[in-house]
């Protein structure tokens, strides 16, 4: 038995142990501890298995079946190993966090059992080498996550509707994936991925399958227009579940797209690339725009996932387009950038959601307008959240920065090979993509300055925020590990990039080396980045400044005043501070046409006076245009159809008998023709 096989069998065994412990341990507190540790071990087994597969280890498990098709084999290749590592690392962090954070409802038997099932399904999707086992684990993953979301259904009314949205959208993407694979299987006559890969990418079946699969996987990766479940579902999920869904599960969607573009149908026509890029660009812009105006921390993070996945798909699409134009170096770099974005997103988004979970636990409040001043009350959470927010805003020295830098470099170097313009399409697409990324990055900056600044800086805006306390050690550990991953991968990106480059072979062969301490040297487009040198340089230029501060601080110590100057106002209350809503107000005005905010201002006057105001109540909601303009009409239509259909189904036995009779007649007539 090879290590990979042992690792996969170990995951099966740990799944059984985790489910058994979740069902058998009677006390909620001990259940959280035992099942949490077993879930973490299950995920750790995934990390080890994936790491071995990524480094070239092989092994295959066959699921016995009597169905007449290609055998169901689990055997992760390098790419699968990579994705397995990424989702499992997030799984470990989420499980550890869950030990401390899971309470009454989220520590129930169902919750912990489905957590284990969810992690297991997610970790084994990338191991599948044929359509049936892929879909099997895909559905196990969906099932586990759906049951997990049920946790709070008894106490919060919104959970049920969120769950309906989630189930419907999951099944929609499953339908697209199934249909896409069915087209491929029909065209090639096999169900193994090796058989599917024999299809000519220029055939119409390939294109049809590509579009269907792109929609299906895009739905899982929370892309527009299939993202509508995200802002409903993630805020309802407990912190560790949201981290696992948004940090890990979306990567399965990306893996699906990679499977299509790298493994099954490499060398697709250029318009595939344009389509993926368009989908990615729209998602990135729409996601970040919604995130930047969101006031609920979890909604903000949820929309930001749509943005990040949009960027991943933008990179992937650019890689397909550039490959079609024979700009191989840039195409490889764009693919690497997409992978870097996926990995860094997993690290920072998991940390951000865990941070949000910690804030939720301490304050029971997710509305940024009622938070504030948490930095001094929860310093560890603030530090970890801050580091991850830097990553999400793609600032140096984080993994998010390295990824975005690579993507921009690939795009800038893509349109010309040896000074010659490669194609008109890419001459227009690349500058537009650069602009989209730049605007996205700018808005992401605003979004995360808002998220961090409003929640963790300044003064608390409510009693709950004033009373907040730091979370226990078991919840701090995963937060700190996550933050260290974000910074570590940003400081030393070289080894990761080389590993990623090995994962996309043999179809793609990016030429990257490590340079300096652990910097990236992308030979294909001739660019280098060594973040450690920037840190060293910054330290160097700051030395005299720090010396000046020390000297100055000795002579002129800092004085603390209870009241800031505040423009001379002395009756300054915490409520007078800027809130998340007011912070985003200029942006709401600028993007008024896209966001369509509804504002309700209610003024209560003192007595009969027209001039003295007693109270002003302002309420602003920003709707999801895609939901109100696209989904609502479709749903309305379906409902009207349902009402009509109900007339035919009124429960009368006579009517049903007559239906049977008519049906029989019709059949007889058809047969006799």
């Amino acid at each position: 038995m090879t290590p990979v096989e042992a690792g996969m069998l170990g995951q099966v065994a740990l799944l059984a142990a985790a489910v058994a412990s979740a069902l058998l341990v009677p006390s909620a507190r001990w259940r959280s501890r035992v099942s949490g540790i077993l879930c973490a071990l299950l995920a750790a087994a995934g990390v080890v298995t994936g790491a071995i597969a990524l480094s070239g280890g092989r092994g295959a498990l066959t699921i016995p079946t009597t169905l007449p098709m290609d055998p169901l084999v689990l055997s992760p290749d390098r790419l699968g190993g990579l994705v397995m590592v990424v989702v499992s690392v997030v799984g470990v962090l989420a499980s550890l966090f869950g030990i401390g954070s899971a309470r009454v409802a989220s520590a129930s038997r169902t919750a912990w059992a489905s957590m284990a099932v969810f992690l297991f399904g997610m970790q084994l999707v990338p191991a599948a080498t044929d359509v049936v086992s892929f879909l099997l684990f895909w559905e196990i993953m969906t099932l586990g996550s759906t049951a997990l979301l049920l946790a709070h259904h008894a106490t919060r009314g919104t959970v049920a509707s969120a769950l309906v949205w989630y189930s419907a959208m999951s099944q929609l993407s499953f339908f697209f994936v199934l249909a896409g694979f069915a087209v491929l299987a029909g065209a090639t006559g096999g169900t193994g991925f090796a058989a599917l890969a024999t299809l000519d990418p220029s055939s119409w079946q390939a294109s049809l399958a590509f579009v269907l699969l792109l929609l299906g996987f895009g739905g899982k990766a929370e892309l527009v227009p299939l993202h509508v479940w995200v802002p409903r579902v993630l805020p309802e999920a407990p912190g560790h579940v949201a981290a696992a869904m948004s940090g890990a599960m979306v990567n399965i969607g990306v893996y699906g797209a990679l499977l299509v573009c790298v493994r099954l149908l490499p060398n697709g026509p250029a318009w595939w690339g344009v389509l993926i890029m368009a989908l990615g660009a729209v998602s990135a812009l729409y996601g970040i725009l919604q995130a930047s105006v969101a006031s609920n921390l979890k909604v903000l993070l949820a929309y930001s996932t749509t943005e990040n996945m949009g960027l991943v798909f933008l990179g992937l699409g650019a890689s397909v387009l550039l490959r079609g134009d024979h700009a191989t170096g840039a195409a490889d770099a764009a693919l690497l950038a997409a992978l870097l974005l996926m990995v860094s997103h997993a690290a920072f988004k998991a940390t951000l959601f865990l941070g949000a979970g910690a804030v939720a636990r301490s304050t029971r409040e997710m509305n940024l307008d009622r938070l504030g001043g948490l930095g001094s009350r929860m310093p560890w959470t603030a530090g970890a959240f801050g580091a991850a927010a830097l990553g999400a805003a793609a600032l140096p020295v984080t993994s998010g920065f390295v990824a975005e830098w690579m993507l921009l470099q690939a795009l800038v170097h893509g349109s010309r090979v040896g000074g010659e313009v490669v194609s008109v399409t890419s001459s227009v697409a690349m500058p537009l993509a650069v602009a989209v990324i730049a605007l996205t990055a700018g808005l992401a900056l605003l979004t995360f300055v808002k998220a961090y600044g409003i929640a963790f800086l300044a003064r608390p805006r409510s009693a709950q925020a004033t009373a907040a306390r730091e979370v226990p050690l078991i919840m701090r550990i995963p937060l700190i590990i996550g933050a260290l991953l974000v910074i570590g991968l940003g400081l030393l990106p070289g080894p990761l990039t080389v590993a990623l480059a090995s994962a996309v072979g043999p179809a793609f062969t990016p030429d990257v080396r490590t340079i300096g301490l652990a910097g990236v040297d992308a030979r294909g487009i001739d660019v280098v980045l060594d973040p450690t040198t920037f840190v060293a340089l910054a330290a160097l230029v700051l030395l005299p400044v720090l010396a000046a501060i020390l000297i100055s601080a000795r002579r002129h110590p800092t004085r603390v005043s209870p009241l800031p100057w505040a423009g001379g106002g002395s009756r300054l209350r915490p409520r007078m501070q800027y809130t998340a809503t007011s912070y985003a107000e200029p942006l709401v005005r600028v993007f008024d046409d896209v966001l369509r905010p509804t504002r309700d201002v209610e003024v209560t006057h003192v007595g009969e006076s027209r001039y003295l105001v007693e109270r002003v109540h302002v309420e602003q909601t920003v709707s999801d245009v895609i939901e109100t303009r696209f989904y609502r009409p479709v749903l309305g239509l379906a409902q009207r159809f349902g009402v009509l259909a109900r007339r035919a189904q009124n429960g009368s036995i006579h009517r049903y008998l007559s239906y049977s009779f008519v049906a029989l007649l019709v059949v007889l007539i058809v047969v006799s023709l």
Partner: protein, 314 residues
């Protein structure tokens, strides 16, 4: 390698000395044009010295951000002075003056300033911070696209190589593509450095404040670092702009006379551009905040035109 490090250090020292002077000259020119006596060109230097020798006062509810933010902004501006091709274009080992890296370095400073504005917990600070970030978000596409357009003739996104290409082939400078990109870049830099017509640097009226609103709560050395950091950023970006328009005098091969010429050239160019900017600002009024996006959209269109034209026409 040694010459490159020497030039980088030289740039650093020169700009720390030069940037308060630049601000002093700009204020003095403006004062004279407006019929005032002005406070002399050394006033910014005196201000910094005065601020460092004062006790900083911090609000009780503020966090470590109020102390760390100003230093971060200063560090980001100092790094700009080290990395940009100002005096010379000699490449540092492992640290190319990569456009995207430099923009991110600058954004660290932008973010630090915005967080400082929020930290004191006052309405002014939040307002300035919000407006500042909105403008920063909208400027970024223009900024990146403009330099992308400039990078196409050189075939690289390394700024020092772009400047060298323009030095060797001056025809590039007056090509329509380059002109479009330069106009777009100039507008983006005005917005980034909080100058007219986007922000009024000499205002103390709440409705017109962007940058000033964020530094209201800072005092003592915190304020000194914030001011110096902002001045350094302005000087460095003006230096970049002037080297792109007039690349002559930039040091490409290390030699002692070359260094002196480089120092003199960049000083003269920056002061010249500063005076021109100052004269221009006398005739400009600040644009209303919600008209700023239109201005930026216009400059974005120019930049996009520049990029696509350089592919499709060339």
């Amino acid at each position: 390698m040694i010459p490159a490090i020497a030039i980088a250090l030289l740039q650093l020292v020169l700009f720390v000395f030069l940037s308060p002077l630049l601000i002093g000259v700009m204020r003095q020119v403006r004062a004279r044009l407006e019929g005032r006596a002005g406070s002399g060109i050394w006033q910014p230097w005196r201000d910094v010295r005065k601020l460092v020798a004062k006790d900083p006062v911090r609000a009780a509810d503020s966090s470590w951000m109020l102390a760390a933010g100003p230093v971060t902004l200063l560090a980001s501006s100092l790094l700009l002075c080290v990395l940009l091709p100002l005096v010379g274009t000699l490449p540092l080992p492992l640290v190319p003056s990569d456009l995207f890296v430099i923009v991110s370095m600058m954004l660290i400073g932008v973010v630090a300033l915005a967080l400082v504005g929020l930290d004191a917990g006052t309405a002014f600070g939040g307002m300035g911070s919000s407006r500042h970030m909105t403008v920063a978000a909208l400027v970024e596409p223009t900024l990146l696209l403009a330099v992308y357009a400039l990078s196409i003739p050189a075939g690289t996104s390394t700024l020092s190589l772009i400047v060298e290409t323009r030095l060797q082939n001056p025809a590039v400078i007056i090509s329509p593509v380059s002109l479009l990109a330069m106009v777009a870049l100039a507008i983006a830099i005005m917005a980034e450095t909080s100058r007219l017509p986007i922000d009024n640097p000499s205002t103390h009226l709440e409705l017109t404040m962007l940058h000033e609103a964020m530094v209201l709560e800072a005092s003592g050395r915190d304020l000194a670092w914030l001011e110096l950091g902002s001045w350094l950023k302005l000087a460095a970006l003006l230096g970049l702009l002037s080297n792109l328009i007039l690349p002559w005098g930039v040091l490409t091969d290390f030699s002692l006379p070359g260094v002196l010429v480089g120092l003199g050239a960049v000083t003269a160019k920056i002061l010249l551009l500063g005076v021109a900017l100052s004269v221009g600002e006398v005739f400009l009024a600040k644009v209303r905040l919600f008209r700023v996006p239109e201005l930026l959209a216009g400059s974005f269109a120019l930049a996009l035109l520049a990029v696509t034209a350089s592919y499709l026409v060339a």
